[in-house]
Symmetry: D2
Subunit: 144 residues, 4 copies
């Protein structure tokens, strides 16, 4: 989608996240907002809590990263609506992530009044670690 306008910056998304989701501070950072894309990087990829046998970033942590990138993408397009909720997520795990930071690139496919559909790639776009479809439900204006 080319004609989308982002109404929140990376710094504003980070501030919102710090206010509402203290637990992600120091774990993920927003590295890009623009052109219908938001990119979020997992900086703490090697913490014990996010690993699984074999030394790789765990599946649940990859799902959290994909969901967060989609959430920030939706917020960047509709403004600070913390009560937006995921209604559906489908993810294919394809390759073991290498140790170190892992980045998610979320792209908007449809921005409707009530539903936003996002496409998220984790890792190198030419050899992705995982690929997710994420749908967010946007509350009506009088419920925000």
């Amino acid at each position: 989608m080319k004609n989308v306008e982002h109404v929140m910056t990376a710094a504003q998304l980070e501030a919102l996240a710090r206010a509402h989701f203290a637990q992600i501070e120091g774990l993920m950072e927003t590295t890009h907002v623009g052109g219908g894309h938001v990119r979020v990087r997992l900086v703490d990829g090697t913490s014990e809590r996010h690993l699984r046998p074999g030394g790789t970033v765990s599946g649940p942590t990859q799902m959290m990263l994909a969901d967060t990138a989609a959430y920030f993408l939706v917020l960047s397009l509709v403004g600070p609506v913390p009560l937006a909720v995921t209604t559906h997520l489908s993810i294919n795990f394809m390759r073991k992530p290498a140790p170190g930071p892992l980045e998610a690139d979320a792209r908007i496919l449809k921005l409707g009044k009530r539903l936003a559909v996002c496409d998220v790639l984790l890792g190198d776009p030419e050899a992705p670690v995982a690929h997710a479809q994420v749908t967010y439900s946007i509350p009506p204006p009088d419920h925000r």
Copy 2:
């Protein structure tokens, strides 16, 4: 995935389809094979059989188109293995397709020995009609 090699051409895919899937003749045609992508066009998009109330291409026909594009993509990469089977398909329906031809663009995300993961967009990539994840299981060489 940049370094993939297609081993079947559009004409070879069409011939295979005619031999094994007589029912799709005159319904879909392969318009592109290359660079890790295959594109398949639904030429018969306005046939009564593939419509639903409102005059648009039906969901099942969109799913058949997405599945066929992914199948041809896999065959183009591994050769004529008709017994490859879909193991999973997840599709988001996002916009009503306009009357007329509808095209699916299938892109390879992972080509393993046993599983191939494909990403399929239907319609205009900037405002897609639908988006599908499709996984194919590739039979081992001695079962082909």
Copy 3:
């Protein structure tokens, strides 16, 4: 969901289908409506058009059957709203269906004002052929 009330019978669903989806006549029939479940049987499972190499019911036909069962389930609960549309379908193909009739059992998991989420099993519930999640969007009353 135990406290759901079905407002359309199998015969009414069949009549609606004949009026709006002439193409499914003689292909599928509704065998059960009640208790939050609708079952639809593919009667024409061996027609050439619905088969694939190996002599089994094709994936697209299985998807059509799952989608139809979910659609009829939603209609049975909200009444004759032909413009209800599928927003998402995710299906795992698990076993080759045996030749002969194939039945889908669709069960309601959530019936909201705008979204209905259905769970669909194809074939023997103890060894299912396929399993699908299907989400339908229900148009607001003034758009019906």
Copy 4:
């Protein structure tokens, strides 16, 4: 699937989890193993780390719970194979979970040599919080 045999008990699953996934200790516990089902309860459902705005268990925590229940189900059926990996997860979020413990019920739909397909319900089966399809890839015997 009625004729499945579980080869690990709840206590053995817990011990394996403690050895390989120290981070889940005190967070989840296995409450049932049998009849093709495994149930896992999130005991720490109200910890700050797993909540989101509105005071409910976060989506990522629900996904972790669904994935863990499916993983334990697969291990209970094939034995202690820590390197089994999720290949796909699709989840519908349907209702806000109430405060307090949240339980996942994972059921086996297909147990093949290489892929296991699980169906997972979170919360009250009659009004589920979420519903997931989870596919695990089982490594061949010489890679365990």
